[in-house]
């Protein structure tokens, strides 16, 4: 994956579309070539599998993690930290925002609309066609419209992340990518990439969109090699 020229990159999408994994992988990649990188965990709706869960791992790579602190981090309270506004205002800081799922989760992003419209940014809609509400072009279009409406911002690109977890096949990814590309054509939006598990990235060959190789960061305990 090639870093975007825009300083602010925002990941939105339906619940469970893979926003957090893509945002984390993008952030980790970005930290290899940029001095100052921050990730904002703006997920106010999911209690588990969030960016903040691997805060230590990210900080060890010099990444600033912007998320509620102390016990508030594990409370089901919709807390937005003031640091987000400050981070967006820092011209040297690369900011990745991992937004909560569905229009409900995107509502929190709407709070930063006034600041964001004056900042060059990418607002990427992450799509997994194996998820129940974004299986087809209609579902994707509905999700896109609803998220734009609650975020008060315009999506700038689609990011395919078509997978069935451990049962992902090349066929699953390719047929999913077709649907995402069709949605892109209909909505007049570019498909900026396709998330592919690193183990499968070698097998998939060339794609009509850039490949984003993914190393899964948030695994259930029986699949984790080290406890975080």
């Amino acid at each position: 994956m090639k870093p975007f020229s825009e300083r602010v990159v925002i990941f939105v999408g339906a619940y469970g579309s893979g926003k957090t994994e893509l945002a984390l992988n993008y952030t980790l990649e970005l930290s290899k070539c940029r001095e100052k990188v921050a990730i904002v965990d703006l997920d106010l709706v999911s209690p588990y599998f969030r960016s903040r869960d691997i805060k230590k791992r990210l900080m060890a790579r010099g990444i600033e993690v912007i998320a509620p602190e102390t016990e508030i981090a594990v409370a089901d309270l919709p807390v937005v930290t003031p640091r987000i506004q400050g981070a967006l205002a820092e011209p040297q800081l690369q900011v990745v925002i991992d937004v909560g799922g569905d229009p409900t989760g995107a509502t929190a992003l709407g709070r930063f609309r006034d600041q964001l419209i004056s900042l060059p940014h990418q607002l990427l809609l992450v799509i997994n066609t194996c998820r129940p509400f974004t299986k087809d072009v209609t579902g994707i279009r509905n999700m896109l419209a609803a998220i734009e409406s609650s975020a008060h911002l315009t999506i700038t690109g689609l990011l395919a992340n078509c997978n069935l977890g451990p049962e992902t096949t090349i066929e699953v990814m390719m047929s999913g990518l077709d649907i995402v590309r069709k949605a892109g054509q209909e909505c007049d939006l570019p498909v900026v990439g396709m998330g592919v598990w690193s183990e499968l990235a070698g097998q998939i060959g060339t794609l009509p969109v850039p490949i984003w190789p993914l190393d899964i960061q948030l695994l259930p305990p029986w699949l984790s090699e080290t406890a975080t």
């Binding site: 619940y15 469970g16 999911s46 209690p47 588990y48 594990v74 194996c130 069935l164 977890g165 451990p166």
Partner: protein
């Protein structure tokens, strides 16, 4: 919906309920199961069904009580503190012999506790919870696909025995995503329910749903009848799974999320040449005691692993009747044991020759 989807446990449970014919759902939100009401709030209107967010868990369970009386397939869900609030209603529903499905995606306790996964509600689920002599059928899935399969089964068992069935998960099972398929639709021919309060017709006596039985003789007779039913459940509804247990000298006993962790630990132990195996109860009540006891000729000891302080140990000891030592390892408060921690316990037992 026969294609494969990637779903969270909570969502998959909701979809499985819809496909099992659940047309009434009453609940109050609580983390970490709120994706379930959220999913059903979108899905139930699509099939012309009722989604109702009640004013409290107490209200929700009593709505379930009323709706179940009509013979409809009905469900409620919550997480630990919310399930505590439902206990009075569950006792009433069990007493009135009504079918319903109750989901507990449990979290850290006691008290308001934490929103992280835990299994501290084992006693509550399997030993009563509410007042009086009654039992719930309790099913404990360990994967998102099994959540789907057991939800379908739960509705069938509830109807078969006219008894509440609990699906006992934990926050992690509710939140994690795995690929799932749903059983093909069209196979949902539900049995008639002549006892349901659907309006008296001329050709039958009136049906009455109640849990009040003032005459001691009649209440005792009712208790005897219920006990007969529970005995039938104990005969027919024990479920479990074994993994490398046949030749295991150390048998881990775990359910739900922890069973997945223990499976990894068993694999790691086998790689080190330790004969470890796993016994996973799927029905927590009735408990698959006989199947567990059958492992004793080869097993030298048993290790219970739970996200609580050892609530299932009692059932394991009762099953083994003192023939083998039963050890325990657990984490609480929302801490989830890592496979390496469990492996360390196995190695410790091997070093001490499995003795107490």
């Amino acid at each position: 919906m026969s294609e494969k989807l990637l779903m969270k446990g909570n969502e998959a449970l909701g979809e499985a309920a819809v496909q099992a014919g659940c047309r009434l759902y009453f609940a109050y939100p609580i983390t970490p199961q709120s994706e379930l009401p959220e999913y059903l709030s979108k899905r139930m209107p699509e099939v012309g069904a009722v989604f109702l967010q009640a004013e409290s868990e107490v209200a929700a369970i009593n709505m379930v009580y009323g709706a179940a009386g009509t013979g409809a397939r009905v469900m409620t869900s919550s997480s630990s503190p919310g399930i505590s609030l439902k206990q009075e209603g569950l006792s009433y529903i069990a007493a009135a012999e009504l079918p319903c499905v109750v989901v507990n995606m449990s979290r850290g306790g006691p008290g308001l506790g934490s929103i992280q996964p835990a299994q501290g509600d084992y006693f509550q689920a399997t030993k009563g919870g509410g007042h009086g002599d009654y039992h719930l059928l309790v099913l404990a899935p360990a994967s998102v696909q099994e959540i789907v399969d057991l939800t379908t089964l739960a509705f069938d068992l509830a109807d078969k025995y006219r008894n509440p069935v609990m699906i006992m998960g934990d926050g992690l099972l509710g939140q994690m995503m795995e690929p799932v398929t749903f059983p093909s639709e069209g196979s949902r021919e539900l049995q008639p329910k002549p006892w349901a309060t659907t309006g008296k017709t001329k050709d039958r006596e009136k049906n009455v749903v109640h849990s009040l039985e003032l005459l001691p003789e009649r209440l005792e007779a009712h208790n005897i009848k219920l006990q007969r039913k529970y005995a039938q459940m104990e005969q027919a509804e024990k479920r479990w799974e074994e993994y490398l247990a046949d030749d295991a000298e150390i048998v881990l006993v775990a359910y739900g999320t922890v069973a997945r962790i223990c499976r990894s630990a068993v694999d790691a132990a086998r790689e080190k040449g330790i004969k470890a195996g796993l016994f996973r109860p799927i029905s927590l009540w009735p408990y698959p005691s006989e199947a567990l006891a059958k492992l004793t000729p080869i097993a030298k000891c048993f290790l219970c692993v739970e996200m609580n302080t050892g609530q299932m140990v009692e059932d394991v000891r009762l099953a083994l009747e003192g023939r083998r030592p039963v050890h325990f390892y657990g984490r609480t408060g929302g801490m989830v044991p890592a496979p390496e921690e469990v492996l360390a316990q196995i190695e410790k037992l091997v070093a001490g020759r499995c003795e107490a």
